[in-house]
Subunit: 308 residues, 2 copies
DNA sequence: TGTTGTTACGGAAAACGTAAATATT
DNA sequence: AATATTTACGTTTTCCGTAACAACA
């Protein structure tokens, strides 16, 4: 059994049982993979792939069990390379982060600036996506870190650390009725529901919290625009399309002239931006440092184990 | 990086940093290992071994981190072979069990008999040792199962299932004063401490419970013989050397004529014989079956995951 | 008929063991 | 001096890619 054979197995499954595509992914040739699979099956004495004639269609039962172990083995093998790179050049390498628009635009910039200053030789690789996409990228080991509000705390294959809490705000143009109430009058749900609303799409940036709050109150808001990012929300609020509900971190008094934000935490509850890593990954020293910069007050002892 | 290089790394550490011995263990030659180590270090760009000149003395910090991952990777690799063997010939193979004298002599025989009948093609390999040795063997993956009373429930790298509870008994010759009391008079500690005692050595078969019970009562027993196994205890009790305290399962009315056993659970508490497996191992189907035979009423769902 | 997987073949690279050299205690 | 590791070298094996072949849709 060779590592190459296991890599082939993994690649073929990932390529949906096409030797041709898997060969491209691995930068190898079809015959090489064909042989690798054949040799693996011969050596193990087990049929790994379900076939229809010569076509590969899926994994057999033993194949599934074998793939699971192969996957874990390769993960460990890969982390050996990471460990070496880390010791060899502690402050150089690549850090891949998947995150949402809100975090990338409003929460991460100070951290990124500090990080680049401290680790100029580390190439930062930010990928933006939906929470679902982000978690998929982390799961597939395409990124080292995922940063989002919508992280599943229950997934046992992840380590999750809280970075900071934030609340929603209601944003309106400065000539809007809601803008000129005395600030001790908190905005209420019945008041909000009178206006057309501009907020996030399903699944994004605490939208679920917003829906839940209205549903609990038995109210049916009129969402006229469901955006992916806060900038779009602010743009259309400024145009007078409706009242915005968005993450508080996206509002800045200086920059967002013409817009007024009013707290909405009492309506939609607190949210928590979190950082997630795979618990079977090896974390480079600078990756730990990034988390530390982003979540300075969090308890990182468990995560630090991944750097040992 | 090749699997062979990782195997070499593991073997060299196991052989206390001797390439020569490691080569013997692997059935290879010194030069081959020397090269393997050199190539691994070159490829990773990291010094793995601490050296004094050419002598290997230990692992460097990166070396330790690398070995840990290599070890896990190789574990998974090895389990691939096990999985294949299991699917290829479900009812043939080797089952290696480490256990103590008491279990081997009194608890296991019925299970072994049933198992051999059901799985005649499985070679059963029993190793007897002290609880400490047994756990070491399991930890080193020299055996698949460890069976003992003194299993550490807290070790997170193990899965432990309870097999059955048992209690100690006091054994005396049938002409001994303690033998002829009415059975509703339970034996007491102050009564016991009047006689010289014959029981187990430190660390064996619940000896700790015995010491703890006497200590709690502020009594100082006179242990005239500390044996490893119950047969020695019974022999010397029969000779009149003293009163025996041993595992109840070691007493059989039929066989042990001339000896009387009186319950001592109320004095020393209940003990539990347990089966332990490494939680990162792959369990062959027949290994699961063995556990099931030995601990029929235990909940094996978690252990069964190891056979997936 | 075009696509996908397998077999055949030749060359390149790698791994190994024996033997010799070198370092360590 | 004895033991242990590295280097040298020739052989063998293994692995890969191109090309030809076979099978599926």
């Amino acid at each position: 059994m060779t590592l190459q054979q296991l890599r082939v197995l993994r690649a073929v499954v990932k390529a949906q049982y096409s030797l041709t595509r898997a060969a491209l992914d691995l930068g190898s040739s079809q015959p090489a993979l064909s042989r690798a699979v054949a040799e693996l099956e011969t050596e193990l004495g087990v049929t790994v792939f379900q076939r229809h004639g010569k076509r590969l269609l899926g994994l057999t039962d033993p194949g599934k069990a074998i793939l699971a172990r192969a996957d874990q083995a390769l993960t460990h093998i890969d982390s050996i390379a990471s460990i070496s790179a880390d010791f060899q050049a502690r402050d150089a390498g690549v850090l891949r982060i998947a995150t949402t628009h809100t975090q990338a635009r409003y929460a991460l910039p100070p951290t990124v600036r500090a990080f680049r200053q401290r680790y100029p030789a580390v190439r930062l690789n930010l990928v933006q996506g939906s929470p679902r996409q982000i978690m998929q990228l982390l799961h597939d080991r395409e990124v080292d870190l995922a940063i989002a509000t919508e992280i599943d705390l229950e997934d046992p294959s992840l380590m999750v650390v809280p970075a900071f809490d934030w609340e929603h705000v209601v944003v309106v143009p400065d000539d809007h009725p809601l803008a000129n109430q005395p600030s001790k009058n908190q905005v209420s749900l019945p008041e909000l529901v009178k206006y057309p609303l501009v907020t996030y799409m399903e699944e994004f940036t605490g939208r679920r919290r917003i829906d839940a709050a209205f549903a609990r109150a038995g109210l049916h808001p009129d969402v006229v625009l469901a955006a992916i990012d806060s900038d779009v929300i602010k743009t259309y609020v400024a145009l007078g399309l409706g009242v915005g509900i968005m993450a508080g971190l996206a509002y800045d008094v200086q920059r967002d002239k013409g817009l007024i934000a009013r707290p909405a935490g009492h309506l939609f509850g607190a949210n928590c931006t979190r950082v997630a890593v795979r618990s079977d990954s090896f974390l480079r020293g600078f990756a730990l440092a990034f988390i530390e910069l982003f979540a300075p007050q969090a308890d990182l002892t468990r995560v630090r184990q991944l750097g040992r």
